[in-house]
Symmetry: C2
Subunit: 334 residues, 2 copies
């Protein structure tokens, strides 16, 4: 069996070293607390609701890489594919909240949900008001009838963008912020495919493996099982099916505007990603769906998983305005 | 033997489909000519020298992904790891030059050099003036005494940045542009390492393979042999050696300012890249070298090669001013 090959130091220090790397990559624009396990941006103003996220490491630049002007305000980072602890979330939130309330915004996973909920309860006792939105964009993870059970994947980036713009630039209050980010969440859909799995640093065993001639449609970002495994198909066939699924789940009419995210899950070549991008363009054009903006690259990865995802966010005037505001973060600049 | 696994259509159409993907990713900001094998930006003004690049596909977002405001003006794209033809280069150049001269700027490879030189001769007959700069940043490809023989790798991105800013925003004339980009080239150094090779789409065989416990120090972006192969080491050991090589080749004194590019060659996880980034920061700090800016991610890839490179550009006031001007391209936004 093939063994994964990684360039690391002590695999037990991955979270901390990733955070230190990110700190250096931000070149002085982050403040770290709690021994590099939570960070926040130096852009936060005193009259804004703060947006706090968190999640496991291994998805870089998600989650902490979207801190900054026009992005999220702070992030608690867990061990690889593991939720951050309530201690981290609470310390972070108390360090940055400005008395205007806090939006917790993270992907829908049970560990994260539990730890953010505990944090919210404890913070409430200190009169810090929080509201919570969980990203639920992965259409392969549960049927539409149970949409709130769906997992959060790459589409969280669109939610960060909308939340950051609304909180920082337009000074939405907590209730209004909650409403607009909920709307964005309801308008975002993602589907991913994988050609091969990834290995957690500590075990260094693949989380799943596919045969030489196999592809998995609907993969989750921790290797959660998708819709099915099938014989390898052409890029065009795979992309067409992905767009079909996305447009079945949230139907579009001709002239609808969307933002498009074509996200590399890790080790797929950018060459293959651009070949897929071509077909996304063809399929959206064929349906009369207008791309307001397109983002292609590594945004929400899964260590070295080979595969990619497509996310669409349907726009209305409010979302479009917020999306078009500037964004200066490590993982996304606009 | 392990077989590469790729998500493509006809492997003979990779160049064309990558270009079409890029065209879609630019969402209307590119004009294509010559059946998607050359493109230029819609930002070009009539009073500027134009900067034209070219090279093989397979390195996305290099080269064509750096077209745009504050980047290069046009690019001719060859088949995977293959030079574009003189026909492409000539047609592109004639489509965009404004009578102020043309800077050819590309990586130092014999095929590219031959085809750009032929193009320059033919264009000269039509009174189109060109000057040529070849990126020569790969310190592992030839000794310092033969610096002009060195290959061009990820450091070309810094040259694009400087050239684009000088030509578009500061309206440097051709001679002044040539001088400043030559200076930038003389100030850029890169070294790469690989954990594993990549496979060309048409043959689908790895260009090189490393043993389970092997790493190659000084790799080229087409898999050209580096300084040596050795037993796998820790990330910290590898990065320290890379920084040592860079600082031996172009010595620094305390207080020198640099731009830093930590470039993923393809399939290394961003998690590992950030662990390496941490040590780059530690090593530069230890030498008193000041990071003016740091860029981390996929900029000049080698299909799905596993590895990364570090590039440093030493700054003076002119380079710093040009570097700090805006950049709005597919592959790099600032």
């Amino acid at each position: 069996m093939r063994k994964p090959k990684k360039l690391l130091n002590d695999p037990n220090n991955v979270r901390q070293e990733v955070m230190q790397g990110l700190f250096y990559a931000y070149n002085g624009k982050l403040t770290t607390i709690d021994e590099y396990c939570a960070v926040y941006g130096n852009h936060i103003s005193s009259d804004q609701v703060v947006v706090v996220s968190g999640g496991g490491s291994g998805h870089e630049p998600t989650f902490a890489g979207f801190i900054g002007k026009g992005g999220i305000d702070g992030c608690a980072l867990g061990e690889v594919f593991t939720s951050p602890s309530p201690d981290q979330i609470i310390e972070l939130t108390k360090s940055i909240e400005k008395g205007k309330g806090v939006l917790f915004l993270y992907g829908n996973y049970s560990g994260d949900g539990m730890n953010f909920d505990i944090s919210a309860e404890i913070l409430a006792e200190e009169n810090i008001v929080t509201k919570t939105i969980k990203g639920t964009d992965d259409i392969a993870s549960a049927p539409l009838s149970r949409i709130s059970d769906r997992r959060g994947v790459a589409g969280i980036m669109f939610l960060y963008k909308i939340a950051g713009a609304a909180a920082q630039f337009e000074k939405y209050d907590l209730e209004k912020l909650y409403q607009v980010v909920s709307k964005a969440n309801a308008n975002v859909r993602t589907i991913g495919v994988a050609l091969d799995g990834c290995a957690l640093p500590q075990s260094n065993n693949f989380n799943f493996e596919l045969d030489e001639n196999e592809i998995e449609i609907g993969i989750g970002i921790h290797g959660e099982a998708g819709l099915r495994r099938q014989k390898m198909a052409s890029s065009d066939e795979v992309v067409k099916e992905m767009i079909d699924h996305l447009c079945d789940d949230l139907p579009y009419v001709k002239g609808d505007q969307v933002c498009v995210l074509i996200n590399n899950l890790g080790s797929l070549s950018n060459t293959e990603l651009l070949v897929a991008t071509r077909k996304v363009g063809i399929e959206l054009n064929a349906r009369g769906i207008i791309s307001h903006d397109i983002v292609v690259g590594h945004y929400c990865t899964s260590l070295e998983m080979s595969g990619f995802s497509i996310s669409l966010m349907k726009l209305d005037d409010e979302l479009k305005h917020l999306y078009d505001l500037p964004c200066q973060t490590f993982g996304w600049r606009k």
